[in-house]
């Protein structure tokens, strides 16, 4: 098998904020009753726990984000996806659940710099000042769906893979030097 190629193959841009497409990144969507004990147990094996609504929790190279009342997003190294899916399928076998690899359905961007928040403020109808620590916010970036959270002094933003070029265009235009708010 060839090496997996992310949507933009690591493209980056240096404006007043630094924009980088990162990845490929492993992602698993997990739909289930979040209150079920086997879910917590399965996450515990990964060093994670069930996040509170709209929160993302990180442990080492893995994170788990709350997407909706019956959906989690596991973020992990790309190479771990197949094995993790297997673990989940076994651990949750007695439950009604759906776990699917969505690593390749997404594009992931990092927005970094003192004014990284300004880039998002131009694109997302979100009150960034009120964004809580470890809050995973699902919203739109201009005309497409996006999710982001604050991390390591910047933001990580996830979009669908097919619109990665569009999202890179948005982030580029919005972080152009001289366009600081």
């Amino acid at each position: 098998m060839s090496n997996p190629v992310s949507a933009l193959n690591g493209q980056s841009y240096d404006g007043f904020a630094k924009i980088t497409e990162i990845g490929p990144m492993g992602m698993i969507t997990l739909r289930c009753d979040l209150a079920e004990k086997p879910v917590a147990a399965a996450l515990k094996k990964l060093g994670l726990s069930v996040p509170a609504p709209r929160r993302i929790a990180k442990a080492g190279a893995r994170s788990v984000g709350w997407m909706s009342p019956d959906e989690l997003l596991l973020i992990l190294p790309y190479a771990e996806v197949a094995a993790t899916l297997e673990t989940l399928n076994k651990a949750l076998a007695k439950l009604h659940f759906l776990a699917a690899d969505v690593s390749d359905a997404r594009a992931v961007f990092r927005i970094e710099g003192d004014k990284a928040n300004q880039v998002l403020a131009k694109l997302c109808p979100v009150d960034l000042a009120m964004l809580e620590p470890n809050e995973l916010r699902r919203t739109r970036a201009a005309q497409v769906a996006a999710a982001f959270w604050a991390e390591d002094g910047g933001y990580t933003l996830v979009s669908f893979r097919s619109v990665a070029g569009y999202v890179m265009g948005l982030l580029t235009v919005s972080s152009a030097k001289g366009a600081e708010i």
Binding site: R54, M67, S68, P69, R137, R138, T139, R140
Partner: protein, 112 residues
Amino acid sequence: MLTLQCPYCGVQAEETELTPGYEAHLKRFGPGSSAEEFESYMFARKNPKGVHFERWRHAYGCGKWFLAARDTNTLEVFGTYPAQSSEPPADLVAKIKAKRPEWPGYSEEGNK
């Protein structure tokens, strides 16, 4: 442009993050129903000037459908609640009654 709070994820979402789904609490009539029943389900929609119950989906958010009670005239939002409700919650109905004493109350026909 409206804002509605998604009862599932708590986000105070603006209209551009939502998609509308028209009237709430419709009763589905399937095979075996009369022409009148099917018409009531498929075509006869309430269009009140005042209190109205509607479906909205937090499409650019958690993806969940929810229901909203809203005044179509003043755009006041009385409340939002989960889509898994066959009628508006009693406390919401009481709240609307207090604010709109002239409102006849929720029923199949009441807010036509």
